[in-house]
């Protein structure tokens, strides 16, 4: 196996996680990851020399997702919030519930805020890397994060609908 394959393969678990957060369906998510990998391998020559691999792969994946969503918005139910994914089979029920609630919670955000939050908080990208992935300025990433958090705080405070989503300790 070449270094390049090894380097790409090391990113696959993270790409699958991000895809799942975007698509909320395991098969759709893996289709998206597969498209991303095909795209990356067949367009390897177009890569900016010296550019970091992981942000590049995430940028391709997000753009493919947005294109597909735009394309399918009218014709199919795909990518509608509230997909079927409710955790891996065999996970303990409390973990599955927590996972579902967390996914539902971040699904109340617009994609731009959700991606900013997930890329920074879960994937550990810097603001600069996240800005490059999303094709926006660093300040935009920070204000999206700030708005996402304000919204989720308000959701946690809401007396009715939001209480279901509040963390149970």
């Amino acid at each position: 196996m070449t270094d390049r394959s090894r380097e790409i393969e090391a990113c696959i678990p993270d790409l699958r996680r991000y895809a799942l957060v975007l698509c909320r369906d395991r098969d759709e998510a893996d289709d998206l990851v597969q498209d991303t990998l095909e795209r990356a391998l067949s367009r390897w020559v177009l890569r900016r020399p010296g550019g970091a691999l992981r942000p590049w792969l995430f940028a391709i994946q997000r753009n493919l997702f947005l294109n597909a969503r735009r394309r399918d918005a009218r014709s199919r139910r795909l990518f509608a919030p509230g997909g079927e994914f409710e955790g891996e089979a065999g996970a303990p029920p409390e973990a599955a519930l927590e996972l579902r609630q967390t996914l539902e919670m971040i699904d109340t955000l617009p994609e731009t805020q959700k991606s900013a939050l997930v890329l920074v908080a879960i994937e550990g990208f810097t603001y600069a890397e996240t800005a490059a992935i999303m094709g926006v300025a660093e300040g935009t990433v920070m204000s999206r994060l700030s708005r996402a958090r304000a919204h989720l705080r308000k959701l946690g405070d809401a007396p009715s609908g939001g209480s279901r989503l509040r963390r149970v300790k």
């Binding site: 393969e9 696959i12 391709i60 753009n63």
Partner: protein, 253 residues
């Protein structure tokens, strides 16, 4: 004049939550938060949210990778696909030598060849409009049906706006252009990594032609003709990708 630190801003608060502050800035913010307990409580909640996201969604990456996502499997599939397309296209490909020294811009006999004039017009239009930030297209993709009817009327034959989403190209829109032989059209598409690809169309002469590759100042182009229309596809893509897109244009779905 003594040097004073920049006042605390929302950007500091956001960066505090994500541990993205420099040690000095972080110390300054800690002192500020001592005097602002409400802000501190808010930031603690935001940090707890980060923890929750990592704890809950982090393990989503732990599931074993299915065979079809192994890099070797992806490579194998790409090889099979490329071979199929390249095999069909290879016999029909001619290479048009264009370059500063190859007489492309010289007013020689070859420059009078209609297809070369078209390619030159297409590449020129490509270079002008892909660089355009404010108005890359005249009619945007939202008015796709109108764009097709309008260009069809001006070119005097039906124009289908190809859906190239299966080739990862998103339609941005199109415009009417003055071509060497009358009205021409330009459709602009964008790749997922935001590179622009244009499809130039002119009324055809009734005869189909083979694929012709041209490259001029770093803009590779693929030209061909159907009986109805004459096409030039230009964009910063490898040859096999241009051919794949060309096939897609004539075999929709």
């Amino acid at each position: 004049m003594t040097k004073r630190a920049r006042p605390v801003g929302e950007d500091d608060l956001t960066a505090y939550v994500d541990d993205a502050l420099s040690p000095e800035r972080r110390a300054l913010l800690e002192r500020w938060l001592d005097d602002h307990p409400e802000e501190r409580a808010r930031l603690e909640r935001d940090r707890a949210l980060n923890e929750r996201l990592r704890a809950t969604l982090g393990p989503l990456g732990d599931a074993p990778i299915p065979d079809r996502l192994r890099v070797e499997a992806i490579r194998r599939r790409l090889r099979q696909r490329d071979f199929g397309i390249a095999g069909r296209a290879a016999a029909a490909v001619l290479l048009l030598a264009i370059g500063a020294g190859a007489g492309w811009l010289a007013h020689d006999r070859l420059a009078q060849d209609p297809q070369r004039q078209e390619i030159r017009a297409a590449i020129t239009a490509h270079r002008i409009f892909v660089a355009e930030k404010l108005h890359p297209v005249e009619v945007t993709a939202e008015a796709r049906a109108h764009l097709g009817t309008w260009l069809g009327n001006r070119l005097g034959r039906p124009v289908d706006i190809p859906d190239l989403s299966a080739a990862w190209l998103t339609l941005l829109g199109g415009r009417l252009l003055p071509g060497p032989n009358g009205p021409a059209g330009q459709l602009m598409y964008e790749t997922p990594d935001r590179q622009r690809v244009t499809l130039y169309i002119e009324p055809g002469s009734g005869a189909a032609s083979a694929f012709l590759f041209a490259e001029f100042e770093g803009a590779p182009a693929l030209a061909w003709r159907s009986p109805q229309l004459s096409y030039v596809l230009t964009g910063p893509l490898p040859r096999d990708a241009l051919i794949r897109i060309a096939h897609r244009i004539h075999a929709p779905g």
